[in-house]
């Protein structure tokens, strides 16, 4: 622990000066880029090299002056039950946040911050969507300060509510880690392999073809042999397959590297009232989430992940309770082997819960079939007027649509228990959303005229985070589900 007295006004650590300089340089470039562009492009006697040097010098000078001034004018302190930050060079601001209003404290470490060994401590309140204040501290001080704030926060709340002495004494004990999850190399590799490569592929293909087109248009004469004109009209299927496979490999490698960097050293600690999350090599993300603020836990598994027996876990949180300020923070564990265990550890009562299952009715299959098959079939039929061969394509399209619809229908169900609801969905992958009944905000019953004829209805459960749909239940069951959830909501908080 550092021996800094946080109740006095403190300056930032000295290494923060450099970071402030970098930040102000970045800001300067961001704001001045149109001017810079004009200067670089305009024709005058100066050479480009000197222009760049002068511009860099000006920005550097500006950054240094601004950074040093910012550093000299920045103080932070905890006085009484308020966190006070004074900052500003020309426009002086004093921010004060009552400790009990603090919702969340998180650390963030970017690339430069890792080099300089400092972190950004941001303090969120319920007031606005943007984080209220950011303090740049070195890691040791940051941890100490965080502890100090949390400690004083507890004390101030305790004195406000006049809690008994014994309870405040308990809070002094360090929180105990109940469970730790860590991404070792094997886990990281699994995660990186099983990411959705098809999405990456489609983006890459789009980029590739648009760049190709651009190239062809702008450099028509010089590069004719590399563009569309060079490709023979009768280019075989193998030619195109090679191109696609090549791009697929590139996108897979990029995806792989990206995942490895982003989720390097991922670490989840579960305490009795909160979860902490840390991940990242270049950009380090740290988050603290209180268990009672978690809205929905979504476990998804795509086809790759299903093969590897892993799944991705997304934890959705809702922080701000103001009327307009709504913010969701999710932490994400890709390709995770122990998703189910983590969910059950976060919601421990779930293991003993008795769920009653409701299934979608068969009409849902038909609806999904029309939904998946309708548009492609219409397009292909239209194309058949130009090229009769496209009619052949209808058969596989229909087959795929039917399979997808069947899977979608088979997987669509929900489990409703006393305190928890689980909604299952998914086409080729799986998706399980788990939520607490007490987090539900409103319940809706939807029925279209087609559903009315077949005596089915859909239930829409809305939480703060999003709405979950349980489609095509039997009308009677749907009504029972709605009544039951409403009963839970209204009589047991």
């Amino acid at each position: 622990m550092t021996s800094i007295d946080f109740t006095q006004e403190n300056r930032l650590p000295l290494s923060a000066v450099f970071f402030l300089i970098i930040v102000s340089m970045k800001n300067a470039t961001k704001q001045l880029w149109p001017v810079l562009l004009v200067i670089f492009v305009s024709k005058d006697d100066f050479k480009l090299f000197w222009k760049i040097i002068i511009a860099l010098l000006v920005i550097l000078l500006f950054g240094v002056i601004r950074g040093v001034l910012m550093y000299r004018n920045f103080t932070y302190a905890v006085k009484g039950d308020e966190l006070i930050v004074k900052k500003g060079v020309l426009k002086k601001t004093t921010l004060s946040i009552p400790l009990h209003k603090i919702q969340n404290i998180s650390n963030r470490q970017g690339f430069w911050q890792q080099i300089l060994d400092i972190t950004t401590l941001s303090v969120d309140t319920a007031g606005s969507t943007k984080s209220e204040m950011e303090i740049y501290l070195d890691i040791k001080t940051s941890d100490a300060f965080k502890e100090f704030i949390l400690h004083s926060k507890k004390e101030s709340i305790a004195t406000q509510t006049n809690e008994s002495e014994s309870e405040t004494a308990e809070t002094h004990e360090p929180a105990q880690v109940l469970k730790t999850y860590f991404y070792d190399t094997r886990q990281l590799m699994l995660a990186a392999i099983s990411r959705n490569h098809l999405r990456g592929l489609s983006i890459m293909l789009l980029l590739f073809f648009s760049a190709f087109n651009q190239l062809g248009e702008s450099l028509q004469k010089q590069m004719l042999e590399y563009t569309w004109a060079y490709i023979p009209k009768t280019a075989s299927l193998i030619y195109w397959l090679t191109v696609i496979v090549f791009i697929l490999i590139i996108s897979m490698v990029l995806n792989f590297v990206h995942t490895c960097l982003k989720y390097y050293n991922l670490n989840v600690n579960l305490y009795d009232n909160r979860v902490t999350y840390k991940a990242g090599l270049i950009k380090n993300i740290q988050q603290v989430i209180h268990l009672d603020k978690i809205q929905v836990i979504v476990q998804t598994a795509n086809v790759f992940e299903k093969m590897l027996n892993t799944s991705s876990l997304r934890v959705h949180q809702f922080l701000n309770l103001g009327e307009k300020a709504q913010k969701e923070v999710a932490f994400f564990l890709p390709g995770f082997l122990q998703s189910r265990q983590l969910t059950e550890n976060i919601y421990p009562e779930m293991t003993t819960e008795e769920f009653s299952e409701v299934h979608s009715k068969k009409n849902f299959f038909r609806r999904q079939l029309y939904f998946y098959a309708g548009i492609p079939t219409a397009i292909l039929t239209g194309l058949a007027f130009f090229d009769i061969r496209s009619l052949y394509l209808i058969v596989p399209v229909l087959a795929i649509a039917a399979t997808a619809a069947w899977f979608r229908y088979r997987k669509s169900r929900a489990e409703i228990g006393n305190r928890y609801v689980q909604v299952y969905a998914g086409v080729f992958g799986d998706k399980i959303s788990t939520l607490k009944v007490s987090n539900i905000q409103s319940v809706k019953l939807r029925q279209s005229i087609f559903q009315e004829r077949t005596q089915t209805a859909s239930v829409v459960i809305s939480t703060r985070w999003a709405s979950l749909n349980i489609p095509f239940l039997e009308e009677q069951t749907a009504r029972e589900v709605v009544d039951y959830l409403l009963f839970r909501l209204e009589f047991e908080n």
């Binding site: 809706k444 279209s448 709405s467 009504r479 409403l486």
Partner: protein
């Protein structure tokens, strides 16, 4: 606070099925008529008038006007049904409404989830002395509870009533 978790008999649950919905004001039909006339009547009339001025694309404009007219006729024909289905009810612990024609919706918002309430009056509704009551829960954007076609006095009464209910409950 004493915790209880007794088994619930599903038959004894209060049923949303048996709610007797109160219909909205009769004059709301006129508002709906006016709305559809404005929404589809103006395009019809403008397409018709331009078709007389622009001889070259007369057929296209006339067919467009016909399409608009058909939509207008259909909307006017189903207005009665829309109005019939529309209803609201206030229960001990929640506020319910139903609406819709092709997609019927039954919305229930428990009092202890309500965040805030507004009463609004559009120009058309104001001409008939009507107002709409909007109830916001903390759920996402699309789940707002919007009750149209009640008198201004009724809307204010309901707002007052719900606000009192919220005060006694603790909000989540």
């Amino acid at each position: 606070m004493n915790f209880s978790n007794n088994l619930i008999d599903i038959e004894l649950l209060p049923k949303t099925e048996q709610i007797s919905y109160t219909q909205v004001e009769e004059t709301y039909k006129k508002v709906l008529y006016g709305r559809y006339l404005l929404l589809w009547g103006i395009p019809t009339v403008s397409a018709l008038t331009t078709s007389f001025l622009d001889k070259e694309s007369q057929i296209e404009l006339l067919s467009a006007a016909l399409v608009f007219l058909v939509i207008l006729a259909v909307m006017l024909a189903v207005t009665g049904k829309i109005y019939e289905f529309m209803g609201y009810a206030i229960r001990e612990n929640d506020i319910c409404m139903r609406r819709g024609l092709f997609f019927k919706k039954y919305v229930v918002v428990p009092f202890n989830r309500i965040q805030h309430i507004t009463v609004e009056q559009g120009p058309l509704a104001r001409a008939f002395g009507l107002a709409s009551l909007k109830v916001y829960s903390a759920a996402g954007n699309n789940n707002n509870f919007v009750l149209n076609g009640i008198t201004k006095e009724r809307a204010d009464e309901m707002k007052q009533f719900i606000l009192e209910q919220i005060k006694t409950d603790d909000i989540h």
